[in-house]
Amino acid sequence: MIKITLNEKPVTLDVDPAMPLLYALRDELKLTGTKFGCGAGQCGACTVHLNGKAIRSCITPVSAIAEQAITTIEGLADTSGNLGESAVQQAWREHKVPQCGYCQSGQMMSATALLSSIPNPSDEQIIEHMQGNICRCGTYQRIKAAIKTAADNTNKHQTAGNVTSANNSGVEYFNAGQITNNKQGA
């Protein structure tokens, strides 16, 4: 039994401790906003927050997150905000970022983690923090623009105290060297 806080609510998981969080979310808890893209931490479709920091849920076993706080796209909404959307979600709508939309939960989770550590990121910082998230439809230019809009709006409308702690380091990167080349694809 593994206890976690999921989207600010306590949840108990009765699963194989080695099960990656992604499958616990999708198969067990039926929270399907978080997507499977590669199963190897390479594409970012499965990005969620662990204590406010972006992680790849497809390679994070549930045993590693016991007693910790997980936020998924379903918990991203700022219930006090417009339409219950966070600044990032609003900006995503404003720029009509998504095409197929499949990778966008992960993109928004990564973008949110970025803005919580760097409220006013430069182009370089955006690229550095977002290059672990693949969008095959090619919405990158709009993602960049939306992140800037979200940053502007957040800085305009929120006081510094409302912004998540600046201590976390944003996105955890995919390192191609760590990936095992597994032809069976298991």
């Binding site: 194989d16 099960m19 990656p20 499958y23 999708r26 198969d27 039926k30 399907t32 906003g33 978080t34 997507k35 499977f36 893209g37 590669c38 199963g39 190897a40 390479q42 594409c43 479709a45 998924t72 796209i73 379903e74 991203l76 909404a77 339409l83 959307e85 979600q89 009509k96 998504p98 095409q99 197929c100 939309g101 499949y102 990778c103 966008q104 939960s105 955006i126 690229i127 550095e128 977002m130 290059q131 672990g132 693949i134 969008c135 095959r136 439809c137 090619g138 919405t139 990158y140 230019q141 709009r142 960049k144 191609a176 990936i179 080349n181 597994n182 032809k183 069976q184 694809g185 298991a186």
Partner: protein, 750 residues
């Protein structure tokens, strides 16, 4: 042309899966008894299969084509609503199930709007005229005195008005007018077409609530992962399931039935692990032991094969089109350019890997799948279950959103897998492909070689043109004896060469196939467009003129080219050539537009270069320009432009989005896209060894949209082909290094 008939609400709602009250109108083939109807509580009224109007004037429209990110779930309803004169704020959209009553649902070839624009408009116009007739009847005035507007019908003289909701029950009792006789709006009067309306799925996607094929959850459902034969045509000799069955959560291990060649769009066979959750299925899979008979295709080596194709195209092939006599000509070496181009196997790699869920109970079957071709998938499922044609409606196929597709999800192998396993296991089964499955068992854009030769002419153009190509044809899927592409495939940027030439030979070659070939976004326009765009640039370099000037000279006079004139049976992407001509004036104007907008002839610092290219494909005209710098053997892409003339634009922002996406997709192909095969087995496994464009590789993107009232062309695919040679041409102009063999990362860091 399809005719439109009224259908009962019950049939409508059953077909689209709506249970609450809501007038229905439909496209069917052929016209049968017209009958519209209202629901039992009389709150909702069907005008046809696509249009239903509730008493409160809420309009429900059916989108019959599949969404993969192109925005069709906005554009189809937008066109219907335009002719219906509906208030977009009152429109909701529901997705059609697989059903032949909707006419074509096959969402491929960038065809949804270019091939069906008029039909979709008629759906709305027929419903509108029924509402207008209902109002005219109530007011006892002639039909030509009333007009629908913004969810009301208005009597022009008196300015009285009645809401759609109040008219719906009356309209539903009328016989629909002949769809060919209804008057369609003048494009000048469009209020929705050409406007960026609120996108149908945007809010759900942003909230993480949009439902894709992988998101289907059913009680008692098993998740299946399948180990497929490593080589196409391979078979399972034996397998040991003991260890896999010991994994907690694994319920069953099932050998899929053998599938002999031709592979068609059937599953590839293999061994499936079915489990209570994905993790258990994957863990079980790790513990499977399988002995394979790899079959005859294990001899395939893509690197050697590419060389063989390159050698082949340097020899004369079978005639596709001929004019004058290139072979009697003595070429002047100093003024002749001859080049061979190769493109490797390329894979779709949609972010959502293929997935489908099925329940089979006796002869009944319910399927949820992200499919580009719902009716084809349904017929394949019926075949799998041994159902006769008239029993097909025992199958209900629900179409989910697709997390990308790019042609992959036209093929129904993964859907039939789900049906096969659901039947075998007697439980609902969701088949989910791993990324490794996706990359290793795809339907690849074929490895190819193209050859071009031409001699410059004194007037600054070129002549004595030879174009050849060689690649495994998609037709091999169904006929293992097929060795050359069908004419419809040769029409893709090859047999339709638009240049003013006196001597021309276009030729194809006989080629064997080894892996599953398939349609990847832009199809053979990828390799043909790369060869053409590169070769024009090479001619320009030889002639020491700008690439723009060479294009303009080759295209020659303003005219409509008839690609059939030289013996080629040209199908023009299934478009009427009189409505969608091969128009050199539009081509030249695009080439000038891109050159001017991107300022491609500007002076650049050393190591920088601009490249341009052009291709008309899928009924649209697209030019591309790319600026790169090449420093320390590394290519940095600095700026990209596309200019598109796709005729009438329905949803401008989505056209722009498709062109942005085409630049990124083109970057992936040009810079890094390569599937290699050794011993018949695909070598790549995931995004680390099949890299696709990431944000750090993306330059400023610019899209230039040409205003036009020409009939609409396609938009999903036409952007990609010119982008690829624009990149490699830019690399040449920056570095003097000519990339004739894709991808670029064979030579440069990217």
């Amino acid at each position: 042309m399809q005719n439109i008939e009224n259908v009962s609400r019950r049939g409508f709602l059953k077909a689209v899966g709506v249970t609450s009250g809501s007038f229905v109108l439909g496209v069917s083939l052929p016209l049968s008894m017209a009958k519209a109807s209202s629901n039992s509580k009389d709150v909702s009224h069907a005008l046809n299969f696509f249009v239903s109007i509730a008493n409160d004037s809420k309009v429900t429209l059916v989108c019959h084509r599949s969404e993969m990110g192109q925005g069709i779930r906005t554009s189809v309803p937008q066109i219907i609503a335009e002719e219906l004169e509906a208030d977009w704020q009152q429109v909701s959209v529901i997705q059609a199930k697989a059903d032949s009553k909707y006419g074509s649902q096959g969402t491929a070839g960038s065809a949804s709007i270019r091939n069906h624009f008029t039909t979709i408009r008629q759906i709305g116009a027929v419903a509108r005229e029924m509402l207008e007739q209902a109002a005219a009847n109530i007011w006892k005035v002639p039909l030509n005195e009333v007009n629908a507007k913004n969810n009301f019908v208005i009597h022009n003289k008196t300015q009285q008005k009645i809401s759609f909701g109040e008219l719906a029950s009356h309209a539903a009792k009328l016989t629909p007018p002949d769809s060919k006789k209804v008057v369609l709006k003048n494009s000048a009067d469009f209020t929705l077409i050409g406007k960026d309306v609120k996108q149908v799925d945007l809010a759900n996607i942003v909230a993480g609530k949009a439902q894709y094929a992988q998101d289907i959850q059913l009680p008692n459902m098993l998740i299946a992962t399948i180990v497929r034969p490593p080589v196409v045509g391979g078979k399972v000799l034996s397998f040991d399931a003991k260890a896999a069955l010991k994994v907690k959560g694994v319920v069953d291990v099932i050998a899929l039935k053998p599938r002999p060649l031709p592979v068609t769009t059937n599953p590839l066979s293999g061994v499936a692990v079915l489990a209570e959750n994905t993790w258990a299925a994957l863990e079980g899979r790790k513990n499977l032991e399988i002995e394979w008979d790899l079959g005859e295709k294990q001899s395939h080596d893509s690197k050697k094969f590419t060389k063989q194709l390159a050698k082949q195209v340097n020899q004369r092939g079978d005639n596709v089109a001929t004019k004058g006599d290139v072979y009697a000509h003595q070429y002047d070496d100093d003024n002749t350019v001859e080049a061979t181009y190769t493109v490797p196997y390329i894979h779709h790699a949609p972010m959502e890997t293929p997935a489908a869920t099925a329940i089979v109970t006796g002869k009944k079957c319910t399927i949820w799948a992200g499919t580009q071709n719902p009716q084809w998938a349904k017929s394949k499922a019926a075949q799998e279950l041994g159902l006769a044609k008239e029993e097909q409606d025992n199958i209900e196929l629900n179409v989910t959103l697709m997390g990308g597709a790019f042609g992959r999800k036209s093929k129904s192998d993964f859907i039939v897998e789900a049906v096969e396993l659901a039947k075998a296991s007697n439980r609902p089964v969701k088949v989910v492909w791993s990324r490794e499955d996706d990359i290793q068992h795809g339907y690849y854009h074929s490895v190819s070689a193209n050859y071009c030769k031409a001699e410059l002419t004194p007037n600054g153009s070129a002549d004595h043109w030879i174009s050849r190509n060689a690649y495994p044809p998609i037709g091999w899927l169904w006929n293992t004896e097929q060795k050359t592409p069908a004419d419809s495939q040769l029409a893709l940027g090859f047999g339709d060469l638009p240049f003013e030439l006196n001597n021309l030979s276009i030729e194809k070659h006989q080629v064997d196939s080894f892996v599953r070939p398939g349609w990847v976004r832009s199809v053979a326009c990828i390799n043909n467009g790369f060869a053409l765009g590169s070769f024009v640039d090479e001619l320009a370099v030889k002639a020491d003129v700008s690439t723009r000037k060479m294009w303009l000279k080759l295209l020659g006079e303003d005219r409509h080219v008839d690609p059939s004139a030289n013996g080629f049976k040209y199908s023009n992407y299934n478009l009427d050539l009189s409505q969608h001509p091969v128009d050199t004036k539009r081509m030249k104007s695009l080439i000038n537009l891109i050159s001017d907008k991107a300022q491609v002839e500007q002076k650049l610092p050393v190591n920088q270069g601009w490249g341009i290219s052009f291709l008309r494909s899928f009924g649209s005209f697209v030019a591309a320009a790319t600026k790169v710098e090449v420093v320390n053997n590394k290519v940095n892409v600095l700026e990209m432009h596309t200019a598109v003339d796709c005729g009438i634009v329905v949803t401008p922002d989505r056209v722009k989005a498709q062109m942005e996406g085409a630049m990124i997709f083109g970057l992936s192909i040009a810079l890094m896209g390569e599937i290699s095969v050794e011993n018949g087995q695909v070598q790549q496994t995931n995004f680390h060894d099949y890299p696709v464009t990431r944000m750090n590789q993306v330059p400023e993107l610019h899209v230039h949209l040409v205003e036009s009232d020409a009939p609409p062309g396609g938009i999903g695919e036409p952007g990609v082909p010119p982008v690829i040679p624009s990149i490699t041409n830019a690399i040449y102009h920056a570095s003097k290094s000519r990339i004739r063999d894709l991808p670029v990362n064979k030579v440069f860091t990217v």
